[in-house]
Symmetry: C2
Subunit: 152 residues, 2 copies
DNA sequence: TCAATTCCCAGTAATCAACTCGGATTACTA
DNA sequence: TAGTAATCCGAGTTGATTACTGGGAATTGA
């Protein structure tokens, strides 16, 4: 039940972009330095976030990435869904499951009720917290150099 | 953010034992058949559940496994913790983290707040639902052949 | 033209997931 | 006491996934 580095690093990168929202495009090199992440790995994540419409990019010199919407309009759930896939502890209760995901006994499957409730509580938290919320918390708890730790 | 088969199959096996609570030891062979799971794989899970004190075993012919406590006293969280490890979306906010897990900037790490809230909501759901609860739901929604699907 | 940048894709090493298998031990039953 | 049904234990295997790295093409501002 853990996030992968994609979700963790992606969240940090998005938060870094949020902090510089309005400053024009920020090169990934810079984000990578601030967050001490690998630039080439970040490139991959940025590509997915761009395709999903959460960030926009400008190519060439002086180019970079910037948030496609203001921080208050981007939730943690948006980011996690792009980088980790649909939210849910098991395949058969992810959001908008297709036919292949549902099992034959879905109607009478008891565990399913448990997993659904777990999913709902996860979705509720992730969809209720925006990048703006996190930045606001940041101001409250002090200057925030993001974690320089593999596990965060 | 998905459970592994250990958590999923383990939950099903525990629920199967719960349904037969009071019937004396149930051999894994039987559980494996009912739930269409691999017996030898179940053996591993059963070993962990036993070491954790959730089930007890009787060796030899006519032996098997049975719940160590009544179904109302075993929560989903108990089972998940044994088979999937401590609950939490990232290492640095798992329950009872030790020194190695916490990062150097824990105090000023903004993402941490998000992950903590997510963890809390997961814990709340998992710790509030017992095997007895699930069995009761089972009666409500009809006869429950557990899912015979890889994803459940 | 040059340098900075995104973009894209291929490869890779290490780890993890999901099992399987063999054999030892234990205990009920006939 | 033999036979059989179980747990117990640890090692091995296979395939997928994770977490990257690197190369090179395309783009663009100075």
């Amino acid at each position: 039940m853990k996030l992968s580095t994609k979700g963790r690093y992606g969240m940090r990168a998005m938060l870094a972009l949020a902090r510089r929202y309005g400053d024009g495009p920020i090169p990934l090199k810079e984000v990578a330095e601030i967050e001490s992440l690998s630039e080439s790995y970040l490139e991959q994540l940025a590509g997915e976030l761009r395709k999903a419409g959460l960030v926009r990019s400008v190519r060439g010199a002086q180019g970079g990435y910037y948030l496609a919407k203001e921080p208050a309009l981007i939730t943690a759930g948006d980011i996690i869904r792009v980088l980790e896939g649909p939210i849910g502890p098991v395949q058969c209760v992810i959001e908008s499951p297709d036919m292949d995901d549902a099992c034959d006994y879905a109607e009478s499957c008891v565990e399913r009720l448990l997993w659904q409730r777990l999913r709902d509580s996860m979705v509720k938290v992730l969809d209720s917290i925006t990048l703006a919320d996190l930045m606001a918390e940041g101001k409250r708890i002090g200057p925030a150099p993001s974690a320089k730790n593999k596990n965060c």
